[in-house]
């Protein structure tokens, strides 16, 4: 575990040395403040459009940070020729993969914490209430969703040639799942065999990232998600994280490191 946390610590340090997070965070703040300054029929209590814009930016920023940070981890080690010395130390290949994953995931968690604190402050400035448990559920589900994305990207970085192609493919896959993942079974019903079976199989095989998108519940002040379903969703995410990490470890086991 010590080795894993050492690798994770380096990844977190790398994130706060890079400018991606700061740029995205400042852009989010600026856009939200500009939108908040718009006068809508002289009513200062209108807030939901602002929450929606802020959460959309938080989601976009977090996905950009998660995918781009993770995609360059192993290729960068290989390019800088630091991968071999790393593995020469008492660090196994699975430990490196898990360390990288943990580092990226924790880094995403830290960025989410900043984003959600800003979001909470922005919403509270208009709504004069702070539904902390709702925000906790939304942020936690978001973080676990990012865990799946990070694990997928890590696997992708071992399969695809370059970080750019990996990032692009991951953006397309994640976007596709978020937009149509929930409806793939309905789409399948309109198709002919054997495409129907293939699409239906994809529906059951993919990680349903859209489950973790509870923005509508937060924006429109819906009651809390039942804790049982909330916990099951986290378990569902952990299951997919384990699958992708196992896949990454298996691919990396046979991968040439030089």
């Amino acid at each position: 575990m010590k080795n894993i946390f050492a690798v994770a610590g380096i990844v977190i340090k790398e994130l706060y040395r890079r400018k991606d997070f700061y740029v995205l965070f400042i852009v989010t703040i600026l856009i939200c403040l500009v939108m908040a300054s718009v006068n809508i029929f002289n009513d200062a209590k209108i807030v939901r459009y602002l929450k929606e814009i802020c959460l959309l930016l938080v989601w976009l920023s977090s996905l950009v940070i998660a995918i781009t940070t993770t995609a360059r981890q192993i290729p960068a080690e290989r390019e800088n020729r630091t991968l071999l010395p790393l593995l020469a130390k008492p660090l196994t290949r699975p430990q490196l993969i898990i360390g990288k994953f943990l580092g990226c995931w924790l880094a995403c968690g830290l960025t989410l914490l900043c984003f959600y604190i800003f979001f909470g402050a922005l919403a509270a400035s208009r709504e004069h209430q702070w539904p902390l448990l709702n925000y906790f559920q939304a942020a936690t589900l978001h973080w676990f969703m990012l865990g799946i994305v990070v694990a997928m990207t890590l696997l992708g970085s071992l399969v695809f040639a370059a970080p750019s192609s990996n990032s692009t493919i991951l953006f397309v896959i994640v976007g596709g799942i978020l937009f149509v993942g929930r409806h793939l079974d309905q789409v399948a019903l309109t198709l002919h065999e054997p495409i129907r079976t293939i699409v239906y199989s994809i529906y059951f095989a993919i990680p349903h990232l859209e489950l973790f998108d509870v923005r509508d519940l937060v924006i429109h002040n819906w009651p809390l998600i039942p804790w049982l379903y909330f916990s099951l969703a986290l378990l569902y995410a952990l299951g997919y994280i384990a699958i992708f990490l196992t896949g990454a470890c298996l691919v990396f086991r046979r991968k040439a490191v030089n």
Binding site: F41, I46, D185, V187, L211, H220, I225, Y229
Partner: protein, 304 residues
């Protein structure tokens, strides 16, 4: 060493040509109908495609009206053909049918059943309490306004955006002044709109209690309707009968309140011609005729 003079002169010559060309083209560009330079920022950036976005934002407002519970293109949206926020104003012909509460249908599989815990899955309206069923919070309907405003900015020719915005501003936020401004902006953009005139009349009558201005505006609406109706295609004519019924029945009600019963009867008779429920209006006419008879023949009143 080469002298820079030729280059300076060439630069000057180019600047003069540019200036001359710009001065020559500018009047033609201003007169050109396809120019985007006259419009606002949306017109410059998006051109006519802004209308497509305007409709998206209009639907977004209705999604907010339902606190996020809204059908996607994959769901059964027969019950959402007319936006509910517009249908609830009473000024729009409601084409909805089907089950608005259960467009999701029965659960299809375990993923679908599980997923329904993570998005709004209950039909509510913001003016009826919204997601928390809190009837004291009906002014939360204000949340639809940013999208309506954006929709109106993108497509200033969409009449419904103005009428819906004004209705909710007036009814739930008690902001008649802003509603008045929205409707007048609508009239500037769509001067021949009897829908806007109808809503403006309601504002004058119900919020300002100004009977004369309401009468003038509604009568102007009727005149415009009579002028425009014959030019519409049959489907549009069918849709537009509803607003004429609304205009005439409101005028009838106004005249009845003013004590002009013969006028009220005339307006109800006009409404009967376009109504899908002429029988109901006939009852109103009979009631008014009875009232009129009592007025002019007091002895006809029962003695006991």
């Amino acid at each position: 060493m080469n002298s820079p003079r030729p280059f300076v002169l060439l630069l000057l010559a180019l600047l003069v040509s540019c200036f001359g060309l710009a001065a020559h083209l500018q009047p033609q560009f201003q007169a050109w109908r396809g120019s985007r330079a006259k419009g606002d920022i949306f017109n410059v950036v998006l051109g006519d495609s802004r209308r497509m976005f305007a409709n998206q934002f209009y639907v977004k407002a209705d999604e907010y009206y339902h606190s996020g519970y809204y059908p996607t293109m994959f769901d059964d949206n027969a019950a959402f053909q007319t936006t509910h926020m517009a249908a609830d104003t009473g000024a729009v012909n409601d084409k909805n049918h089907g089950d608005e509460h259960g467009f999701l249908g029965p659960t299809r599989n375990w993923i679908d059943a599980f997923g329904r815990n993570f998005f709004p899955d209950r039909h509510t309206h913001l003016d009826e309490g919204g997601a928390n069923d809190d009837l004291s919070g009906s002014e939360n309907v204000r949340e639809i306004l940013p999208w309506l405003k954006l929709s109106a900015d993108l497509d200033p020719d969409n009449v419904q955006t103005y009428t819906v915005t004004a209705f909710w501003l007036r009814m739930r936020m008690n902001n008649a002044k802003e509603a008045d401004a929205v409707l007048h902006e609508g009239l500037r953009n769509c001067p021949d709109s009897y829908d806007i005139l109808f809503e403006l009349g309601r504002l004058y009558y119900e919020s300002y209690h100004d009977r004369d201005r309401a009468r003038n505006v509604w009568e102007q609406g009727v005149r415009l309707w009579l002028k425009i109706y014959p030019t519409l295609d049959p489907e549009a004519q069918k849709d537009n009968r509803f607003i004429m019924e609304q205009l005439t029945t409101h005028l009838a009600k106004l005249e009845e309140d003013a004590g002009n019963l013969p006028h009220a009867i005339e307006w109800f008779q006009a409404a009967q011609k376009v109504s899908i429920t002429p029988g109901e209006i006939q009852k109103q006419i009979n009631r008014l005729k009875g009232k009129l008879g009592e007025e002019f023949n007091p002895l006809a009143k029962p003695l006991y």
